[in-house]
Symmetry: C2
Subunit: 575 residues, 2 copies
């Protein structure tokens, strides 16, 4: 199942290793989390030499399976101080898989200040001075590297935020048009790459042998069923392609779970102005692209290209979470301002959720005015200017709250909340609190049965059933992340009894195995146990699975509160 | 034993309560830690409404016992997120005791932004608008309040740092001349006072009844013995009065344990220029005061007044820890620059250890140049200017390391190291790691037997005996802090078998008790257990009792390393 490529960033050496027994059969998040647990001392400094940055394509990545091109990145997070897995689309996962690389590991840390670029292709590995890419944003970096190494090569890079080792820094991937619209956003992994002084990684699979399938016919049949399943579900087949993830703005707002003005109320009076419907209208009007895949082989195509008033590309991969964080959370209602904030985050390399929430905290602390999009843009530009304000903002919501003396910060384990209020969407609230990743909706997207009516219906305002919902989703998601599949396959998979068996059929046909759905569940649990064990060794206790004090406030319009006891949460994910 | 005065900072009400059974017989740190454990939810936001700020004079405070005028302040620390006790001299402890107030507790938190001043006297309590004291430094605040309420009234106040809720903020006390030379420095308690919007507390004991002694004759005899003991020991009777605490500069430098340039080496080539001997010379030359008590009734008088070149007061209470942190740690060698940095910390209300270490981190991160005193002064002035740089620096060393991507930060539990390298002074190193307070030398001053030859001799470079040394000192110190005694009484007490029995005699004569030295040890253990329990509930594990990664580096000139195992440290303070 490929080799492990280890790059020592201190002495600029590299080596290919056989996958050892303890990592055999793992991919994506299963592999990054296992390697981080086994190889990174849990109490190490996240920006120090003992941390490692691990990239791993999923188990289905590199095969023809639809929507299987996600790349997992893992490390000890400088944001949460716990384990982190953050996955993204782009070209890198498939190219690494085709080069036979099961994991790419960046180790140690140089003593000097010069950045390097890593180039990986079928001939081997080069570690070159980054030269004039230093201090450049991701837009420039990717353009420059595509010019040099060819269009459609995979590029992973950090912008000014990662270079400064800010805890909100992302690792961005060139999207299908060579722009930094895809990101390993959460958990500050860009800062880990920055600490290791790696500016960019270029991956080219030219000349690599075609990846083998153990049973090509069986694979083809399973994948056909798979594609049909994805295309026929109303969310993955209709809603997402038409409006992108921003289709959720009106839905979540309607449900009263759309956190507005730093989680004070669940409805934003200007929701319509920043909705997916509105966005699609603007994109069409200005000649952008409403529907684009985040990686080759995607059949949902929920990404997009958003142009400015002059028809020039303003931003790409403009997502619901970003629009919420930069919009309702900050009460900014101008979609163009929000798009510019998204672009700046992509360019400087920052997580749009973390930084959007941070802008709201900056407003809470009086640094800028509520709803002032221009002021927010100016403030964010301080990151690119290496200015002190940028060193506050770029370090995320909790840090900015610390700088400004704000005690109302929506975060768990140091990571800012996504776009669903935990009081009025309790399934995802349980996930925020208990996932080893820090507050994260993708770790167990309870919005499904809470609000979207996918995979059942569980009252979002009541406790009943929501711990089980979150737990089951966390297990399933971990397995999906290990397969390298896009999280949104969950919509059809949750609604179709044939979903998980079909994934098993593809895995079995690829590797000649005989996995069953029970094995998938066991894999999901194993991943979560590895991650929990790392966090335990890093000093986490059940105290770190609690909600911040602010969620004791009653939340309009449904006047819900967070009412799970510490013990109820502490008993989640115990298997 | 007095009453508890509770002030609700939200509705500006107050009440006097009888001391309940569970707090009976406690004072100083014993009382603040017990109250924080019992009344503050361990997982609360330190700057939120559920935290409480507790002030308690010691058990001997208010009596004629020499050196018994220390006031303990306690809360959940915004710096460490654990329990905090920080004690200081000044007038407040004795005046509270004379007013019969066993503890003053600030509760809740106002919603508005206006600051208040609390005035406590024999007639009761007033909570008044702070008015034009807002945004003023402690020098102005204290001058203004002495003008209004009379010289020698006790003043506790916060400067601009506390108003901004910065984690390095102190609560300062008017010293004997009404300047802010005394501070509850460690742990950011100034930010807690700032969050509760209390700018200053004025305490006047005019008209209060004289405090009663159960056996005046016995007390007098014990105190006489006590004074003789303090005066006849070479450290408390000679070294400290002559050169202040800065007498340690040459001593610790000579021992090779004087951390220089962010803990890279144990000797500073310019140590003599910033030594206590040099300081005494400059003070004398410029007409300052070389020896002054930090509170009435002090017989050691290790405080001082340091004038500038024109003979004008530049700073007061100019201490070893400050001179080390602002000096050797940053490689600033100009004593006047260091004195100005001390003055700014007193004025803005910031812990000189935390902020001195922070300035070194700012140098490590390239914000200013190593050794540049003028640049350090300019940077510190950003705190008074409410500028973004100030919001970084004022939040301490770990925070500043986070802002600048520096992974070499000397801290445990978020609190910066004091002036002794743990590798070449292992007794105090064990204290840094294991005290519930976060890195703190005063919690168990192993320098005594390691370097000063007080209370025995234990090799500072070897592990043997140093866990026991730290543990015994931590127990003894907790009891000393409960008594309201100055920590430096430890020098004679450790060398004189009659030390602890004499303290017991004073306590017994004051309260009509029959305490023995065993009771004192039991009290010390109880305090530590209360503090550890709070931290456990707050989510601390043995992981938080470890040294940062940087102390794996070998430390010149003795080439020592930190070599205690996690388990060895985890078994400290287990009783």
């Amino acid at each position: 199942m490929g080799k492990i490529l280890r790059i020592n960033t201190k002495d600029k050496s590299f080596k290919f290793e056989e996958v050892p027994e303890e990592y055999a059969g793992l991919g994506g998040r299963a592999l990054t989390s296992k390697m981080v647990l086994k190889e990174v001392p849990a109490t190490c400094q996240p920006l120090g030499k003992f941390n490692k940055l691990v990239f791993a394509p999923g188990l289905l990545t590199g095969s023809p399976a639809a929507n299987s091109g996600r790349l997992s990145a893992g490390a000890k997070s400088p944001l949460t101080n716990g384990i982190k897995e953050s996955n993204a689309g782009g070209f890198a996962a498939q190219k690494l898989a085709k080069l036979g690389i099961a994991a790419l590991v960046l180790e140690d840390k140089p003593e000097g200040n010069e950045f390097s670029t890593i180039v990986i292709n079928n001939d081997g590995v080069e570690i070159l001075p980054a030269g004039d890419l230093e201090k450049k944003g991701n837009y420039d970096v990717m353009e420059s590297l595509w010019d040099k190494y060819g269009q459609k090569t995979a590029v992973l890079s950090i912008g000014q935020a990662g270079e400064q080792c800010l805890k909100g820094a992302s690792i961005n991937q060139a999207d299908l048009n060579g722009r930094p619209g895809r990101a390993h956003g959460r958990g500050g992994l860009g800062a880990v790459m920055g600490a290791k002084k790696i500016k960019a990684i270029v991956i080219d699979d030219k000349g690599a042998p075609k990846s083998e399938l153990a049973d090509p016919e069986a694979f083809k049949a399973a994948n056909k069923k798979w594609v049909n399943m994805l295309r026929s579900h109303p969310v993955s087949g209709e809603g997402l392609p038409a409006f992108g993830t921003a289709v959720l703005v009106n839905v979540i707002n309607e449900a009263g779970a759309f956190p507005t003005k730093n989680f004070r109320t669940g409805r934003f009076e200007h929701a319509k102005e920043i909705s997916g419907e509105k966005m699609a209208e603007v994109i069409t009007e200005r000649g952008g692209i409403t529907s684009e895949g985040c990686h080759p082989g995607c059949v949902m195509k929920c990404s997009n290209v958003y142009n400015d008033k002059d028809g020039k590309v303003l931003t790409t991969g403009f997502e619901y979470e970003t629009i919420w964080a930069m919009g309702a959370h900050t009460t900014i209602k101008d979609l163009d301002d929000i798009a510019m904030l998204d672009r700046l985050c992509d360019d400087y390399g920052m997580d749009t959720i973390e930084i959007g929430v941070t802008l709201g905290i900056a407003m809470e602390g009086g640094m800028i005015e509520w709803g002032d999009g221009k002021a927010a843009i100016e403030l964010l530009e301080k990151v690119g200017a290496y200015a002190p304000e940028g060193k506050i903002i770029g370090n995320g919501a909790l840090f900015t709250g610390g700088a400004l003396g704000v005690d109302r910060v929506p975060e768990v384990k140091g990571q800012a909340f996504p776009a669903y209020d935990p009081r009025s969407c309790k399934g995802v609230g349980v996930t925020y609190a208990t996932t080893p990743q820090g507050a994260d909706h993708t770790a167990g997207y309870g919005v499904t049965a809470n609000i979207l009516g996918v995979g059942g219906n569980i009252d979002p305002h009541k406790k009943e059933g929501n711990i089980e919902l979150s737990q089951n989703l966390q297990i399933a998601t971990a397995a999906v992340d290990a397969a390298g599949l896009c999280l949104f396959v969950a919509f059809p998979v949750l609604d179709d009894a044939d979903g998980v068996p079909t994934i098993c059929e593809m895995l079995n046909a690829r590797f000649g195995l005989s996995l069953t759905p029970d094995d998938v569940v066991a894999l999901g649990k194993q991943i979560l146990n590895d991650e929990k064990e790392f966090n335990r060794l890093a000093g986490f206790t059940k105290v770190h699975d609690q909600m911040p004090e602010m969620f004791k406030e009653s939340f309009p319009p449904h006047d819900t509160t967070w009412d799970f006891s510490d013990d109820e949460l502490a008993n989640t994910l115990n298997f």
